[in-house]
């Protein structure tokens, strides 16, 4: 076996400078802090971490965070694909405006989204009062958290799927129709499989965002232990009590669970790409 050099020789200048800035900033801003968290966890010990994570209140918050993030990402997967389809394929007045508005949840600060959603869905709010009349309570329940997570994850699926729809060759649809498929059959069995890999990428991004979301959730959640308390809030509470070990334990648990979920989504994605025949 020939030995591959670490960096191939080239006449391009700036190797030292660009590599130096990249690695230095990556280390100081991202890698060392994450390393500090992992080191804290290692010193605390696996059995202690498990003890913290399996405490009733912690386990409930982790379960809640991941459950609602998954549900919100699923909603965004369906609504996001629909929205992408409408925005690419149909013509209607105000379309460009709507397209720009999809990015609003990216631009709007999470704390602003949090207080706005709370004002809207609180029992005396515009939507909350309507909901209350039919006996629903949204703010300060898990439903409220779900809505906040839908809001922050809204753009991901649409923005990953839109370019794929734009590039679909119309001839594929024509062929399907010529062979006698109904439009719905074509959408379900021809178009949808083509969109799946991109949609899953968006789903994964929305999920990762929702799991760790803090600002938009804490206002609308009510933060009742065991019922509407999310995992990031529990980390903040532990930090305010200078309980660094417990905070680190919950933080590590969140990293590990996120990592496993994203890995699973990547595997599903590889399988769905294989089925499409281009790996």
């Amino acid at each position: 076996m020939t030995h591959r050099p670490l960096v191939h020789k080239t006449a391009m200048p700036g190797l030292g400078l660009s590599a130096g800035i990249t690695i230095a900033m990556l280390s100081i801003v991202v890698l060392l802090p994450i390393g500090a968290l992992l080191l804290k966890g290692a010193n605390f010990g696996l059995s202690n971490i498990l003890e913290v994570v399996t405490r009733e209140r912690v386990a409930a918050s982790l379960y809640l965070s991941f459950k609602l993030a998954l549900l919100a990402a699923l909603f965004n997967l369906i609504f996001g694909v629909l929205l992408a389809w409408v925005l690419v394929r149909y013509r209607f007045p105000g379309k460009r405006f709507l397209d720009a508005a999809v990015d609003l949840p990216f631009a709007l600060p999470t704390a602003v989204a949090g207080i706005a959603l709370t004002a809207l869905y609180a029992p005396n709010g515009a939507f909350g009062s309507v909901a209350q009349e039919i006996g629903w309570k949204i703010a300060y329940t898990q439903m409220g958290i779900f809505i906040a997570l839908v809001f922050v994850g809204l753009p991901f699926v649409t923005r990953t799927v839109q370019p794929v729809i734009e590039e679909i060759d119309r001839e594929v649809e024509e062929a399907s129709a010529t062979l006698g498929a109904s439009r719905l059959y074509t959408l379900r069995h021809v178009i949808l499989p083509m969109l799946m890999p991109a949609a899953l990428t968006g789903f994964a991004l929305a999920l990762a965002r929702a799991v760790g979301e803090y600002g938009s959730v804490i206002f609308i959640a009510g933060n009742i232990p065991l019922r509407t308390e999310i995992a990031p809030l529990l980390i903040v509470i532990q930090l305010e009590e200078f309980n660094y070990d417990a905070a680190a334990a919950i933080g590590i648990a969140m990293l590990v669970i996120s990592f496993v979920m994203l890995l699973a989504i990547n595997l599903i994605q590889i399988v769905s790409r294989r089925r499409m025949g281009h790996v």
Binding site: T22, F79, V112, R170, G212, A247
Partner: protein
Amino acid sequence: MSDATLHTRRHAFRAATEEAPLLRITLIGIAVAGLAILVFAPLAVVFAEALREGWLAAVESLGNQDARSAIWLTLLITAIAVPANAAFGIAAAWFITKFDFRGKAFLITLIDLPFSVSPVVAGLCIVLLFGANSAIGGWLVANGWPIVFAIPGIVLATIFVTFPFVARELIPVMIEQGRAEEEAALTLGASGWRTFWTVTLPNIRWALLYGTLLCTARAMGEFGAVAVVSGKIRGQTATMPITIEMLYNEYLSVAAFSMAALLTALALVTLLLKTLLELRHADQLAAIRRH
């Protein structure tokens, strides 16, 4: 066949690659209603709540000492974090696209890592590394350089959560453009810096601006990571989003929503600029979407 007959034919028969009108209208209806409820309603509420007691009350609430210092702090943090991030993004994109080295995919994964880390966990990591209880933090505090509960910590947290933004936009554009133009400039005797300023930068400027805009929007509004590292000291480390939380928790609704409206206005400006950029320079930015 005349244009008129073509026109009527198009209306009479639905193309095989279109949905039935009823389905189409239903889907458009769901999309519009969904965005109205999920996006436009919260946006409208911010301004409605801010103006509940009139313009005067809203503007007055932004004029006091704490509010002014929060606005200044947010602008300061953004003014430090965004250029730092732009510099990193350019360096990382140059390193990744102009050289061939082992572990490139791994490096890209590491740069994207902050996207999948909760902002609160990001803040926690910074507290653990630079807090007064840690070795590094203790030494820095002893020498009069506190990081956590001070401005440097907020800057670090902001750079962490916005870390991939600029690099992510630049890398696909620079991959598409290749190295030929830079190689030509170098062959003709241009220095490395001259090549960068006169060849590379003009080619990537819109993507750079695009990434910088995304980065700015997020930097101004970052809450979770800043909440953990700032210590929320009024008038000193309370940024605009942190001040919104404090005012809201004190039931100062008009003041909270007025500051929120100001931040929202800034967010809408970045959104507008971004949309304009997408319309004007669709060709260069298309590369970002393709990758």
